[in-house]
Symmetry: C2
């Protein structure tokens, strides 16, 4: 593959990412993607064969990007409380820079759960719990976090971080009436979220 191929293929991929994030799989048009990449439709098919294959390429890249943000939590040498603060600060900052990702992922997952299963197969969930337990055994006891409560706690943390972006359109409409901006709300949230969760977990 020569330099030109790479340039064109990348331009297509970037244009497709942009259009799919905006419109979703069903709403996206191959013509829109071609226009944004300043090439013609035929070339899309030359590189990616079908709309479905192009979408899958984009989806897997994006999903990987989102979940990779969870990884450092399991390796950083920090106390549990510091990890919670670290996670919210880093994850919300990442979402600030990629605000359309949550809605996109959640929507497409529900439309096609099989796609998600394929990606999750590369992750060993039970291993992650083991790592956490090894690193933070004493703190888990102190905070009263058991293996049974992990699903509730983890989904609560994810919810607090992700939901505002998934519901952005709704929140912006509400905040308008309260004279606050989505941006300042999100900035506040990096600290509020950590305080809230730590408070709830402390015995």
């Amino acid at each position: 593959m020569g330099e030109n191929d790479k340039l064109t293929e990348e331009r297509i991929f970037d244009a497709a990412t942009d259009v799919f994030l905006d419109k979703g799989m069903d709403g996206a048009r191959m013509q829109d993607i071609a226009d944004r990449a300043t090439i013609n439709k035929a070339l899309l098919h030359y590189y990616y064969r079908t709309k479905d294959k192009l979408f899958n390429a984009v989806f897997e890249k994006i999903a990987g990007k989102l979940f990779s943000k969870f990884a450092p939590v399991f390796s950083e040498n920090l106390s549990l409380e510091e990890k919670i603060r670290f996670f919210f600060r880093e994850h919300i900052t990442f979402l600030q820079q990629n605000p359309r990702l949550p809605a996109f992922i959640l929507n497409e997952i529900n439309r096609n759960p099989a796609r998600m299963r394929k990606i999750l197969n590369n992750i060993d969930i039970n291993k992650l719990w083991s790592v956490l337990e090894e690193q933070h055994h004493d703190e888990l006891v102190r905070y009263n976090i058991t293996k049974e409560s992990i699903p509730q706690i983890m989904t609560t943390i994810a919810a607090i971080s992700v939901f505002p972006f998934a519901a952005r359109g709704l929140l912006e409409a509400i905040f308008e009436k309260m004279n606050i901006t989505f941006d300042s709300y999100i900035e506040e949230r990096k600290v509020f979220a950590a305080d809230f969760v730590i408070k709830a977990l402390t015995k």
Copy 2:
């Protein structure tokens, strides 16, 4: 409008609701809706003129249904803690019975924010805060809830309740590996969520 009209129009509306919930505006097909209502496509247009008008009718009905579940919180004669428990129990039970609503609403809102603004115009957000402050002045002070922290707290409560359903496809895939079911997780959540939030708010 005679009895027969009403029956057909209702059948169409119900079929459309079902298809739109499943596929979203872009993915839904008029033919699917006609099939599910066991009539033909032409009749859809006779009653609702265009796909867009049909979708709007469905969307407004669904959105109203979802938000109406928030209303009792502002009228029930309960303490603040009881209201929080009441809300999670009732709201999550409602979502159990209508699991596809959150993903649908969030997705369509982001695709067309104007639609949401129209619905929210019927709600006086600032009034709601006044009502809450009047009913629970002492408790708000005791819990350290100020007008400034309301957006963070309210969105956190909504997130905890709604997110699991919006992310259902993802969570089911993860829970599968942990040998727990989405249903039992949701059942637990009605109490976990209330405990978690009350703990976080208590000074």
